[in-house]
Symmetry: C2
Subunit: 342 residues, 2 copies
DNA sequence: GCCAATGTCGTAAACGTTTCCACTGGCTGG
DNA sequence: CCAGCCAGTGGAAACGTTTACGACATTGGC
């Protein structure tokens, strides 16, 4: 059956009665005599020849493969990124290698190091935390890397970041303007980059609006629907009239907890999330959410990477690392409609 | 920076003052004199050597890469599969190449043909339709393939299928037993395999329960949340007391349409879906759904593929194609609680 | 009819590994 | 002391391509 007897350039050469060089030339569209072309083409077709990509890669030092490493493929945010990345890399003729790091730093580092094995031409990395080891590995990476996430200055690597702080401000402002006064915050783990930034955004937004920061209105937990429900319960005694969540998953969990308690959303409590993932649309009521541009970030990252690959092919230089920031966008849905009191 | 000056086995040999053969042996843990091992190890470490996977692949004819091709990475069902597949392939030391075919048959065929370029050692294919061309391509595939989905007899390819018919029966039975009598069906496109089978399941289940088939209670549309909402609207005039949907996305859309009309779910109309995707849990009310075992199917497919790869390595024989079927499982949630009339 | 220019082709090297084979030297066992 | 063995080693071939180079044939202009 499909046991190793694949036709090679040699089989074709024999069958067509020419040299392997001629076969290669014909197959790559270089000049050749009419009947040579003809014979080679026919032999190739008859044998069902498919060029061996591995051999080709070895020869010209590129695999036409790109790697995307993200923490968890179950999270809709990363799915959106995968989708966006996939669409641009596919158009450019690259295959996409997927790597789920399960948010373990060691795994992220392994991926970075594995760039050296030349399996893929470049890497898009979406780290959940940035440690010193990360920075070290990034600066010594064996190939072009684009990071989705915030990076300290001085790391010679392209990056695409979200503006969580501005995003959080958008949500808080919206809740405040629609009449909410006791705006709670349901945050994620503070030792992750997004967790930290969204917390920061909440605080600054409160301050900017002259609202007091009330500890009892703040709770942190893991990202996840169930965690959201549980955490929301803990928030209720403080009597919030709105819950701003660091995540759509958390928001969804919170909304469910509220509904299960017989509270109305948004009648009694408004709920807003972040990421504007498919969950936000899927929820009932549909969730207001801050779109941090997952798709755009994915697309940008892929474009930066391709750009760098081009660049290397052309100049071989190492231009300045570039950073782009996706502007946040508030998507208002039913979950934060103004409370129309009975 | 990361320009091509990667150390190779040759650099190491020079630095350590041995032959490349010795380097290779040491690095692969073959026998060598103590100080040879020592010198090679040190040279490799100092140079930061990483073996070139492409060269290795060319030599021993395997890439340690597997491809998974599915219609749409945005669909939670496929995400679940990716996840399951990823976890078993990763454990076995294989990388995962992802391919989104956007449900276009031509693309699926291209993936099949591309098996010949030796980019990956095997393929898991999740086709949306099976045409004659598919069958032809499958029988002549250049490497091991596992299909997730139903395949006609006689195709020499392993497959993992879901039992949509039994699954649909489960749901209809459940709705009937909880007192529903006018059970509508919101189906997907009938020219796709799942669309067809789920329709079939609905009809057989009705018949088995002695329920009449009422055309006005049946509507077909594309898979997708919005399509579900629109289609549900068309169903309402017929006065259903339950809607069984071919898909969680459709079910979610239907539930939203009902709620938006002021109907109660499940009070007035029960809603059930299929796939038991994250959407079903995320929805409010949480959706009763038939779990068709996406994760299990993914896992099984991966295991079959790995198995076949092993097999080839060992015997080189082509044993019987195997087919496994994942049993459906009904997950009851709030959306189908018995109607407790006011 | 000669020379250069052009076009076509084959030989061979290269990409970075792994591995077969042959060679060396130091042992052991007789 | 020698035959035989073994571990350790290096040379070289192989995997399937692409491509530089040189050989040869054809052409055109004079």
């Amino acid at each position: 059956m499909w046991n190793g007897g694949q036709p090679t350039i040699v089989s074709i050469a024999e069958r067509a009665g020419v040299s392997i060089a001629s076969v290669s030339r014909v197959l790559n569209g270089q000049g050749a005599r009419r009947d040579t072309v003809e014979r080679v083409r026919r032999a190739a077709a008859e044998l069902g020849y498919v060029p061996n990509a591995v051999a080709r890669s070895l020869k010209d030092g590129r695999t036409r493969q790109l790697t995307f490493a993200m923490p968890d493929i179950g999270n809709p945010v990363y799915v959106a990124m995968v989708r966006a990345i996939q669409s641009v890399t596919k158009a450019a003729g690259y295959r996409l290698l997927l790597h789920s790091t399960d948010a373990v730093a060691e795994d992220e580092l392994a991926v970075l190091r594995s760039l050296g094995d030349r399996t893929s031409d470049g890497l898009i990395l979406c780290p959940i935390r940035i440690t010193g080891a990360h920075i070290d590995a990034l600066t010594h990476a064996a190939g072009p890397v684009v990071v989705i996430g915030s990076l300290p200055d001085g790391v010679p690597v392209d990056s695409v970041r979200a503006d969580s702080v501005a995003g959080a401000a958008l949500a808080v402002a919206h809740l405040h303007e629609t009449g909410r006064r006791r705006i709670a915050f349901l945050g994620g783990p503070r030792d992750t980059v997004p967790g930290h930034n969204r917390d920061l955004g909440y605080r600054t937004a409160l301050a900017a609006r002259g609202l007091p920061y009330d500890e009892r209105l703040v709770v942190h937990t893991d990202f996840g629907i169930d965690s959201g429900s549980a955490a929301a319960e803990r928030l209720l005694p403080a009597g919030p009239d709105a819950i701003f969540c660091a995540n759509d998953q958390l928001a969804l969990g919170a909304a469910h907890a509220l509904l299960a308690r017989g509270l109305r959303v948004p009648g009694d409590v408004a709920v807003a999330g972040m990421d504007n993932s498919t969950l936000a649309q899927a929820s009932w009521p549909p969730l207001t959410s801050v779109d941090l541009g997952s798709s755009e970030r994915g697309r940008h990252a892929a474009e930066l990477l391709l750009d760098r690959l081009e660049d290397r092919a052309v100049h071989g230089a190492f231009p300045e690392p570039r950073t782009t920031t996706a502007p946040p966008r508030l998507v208002v849905r039913a979950s934060t409609a103004p409370a129309t009191d009975p």
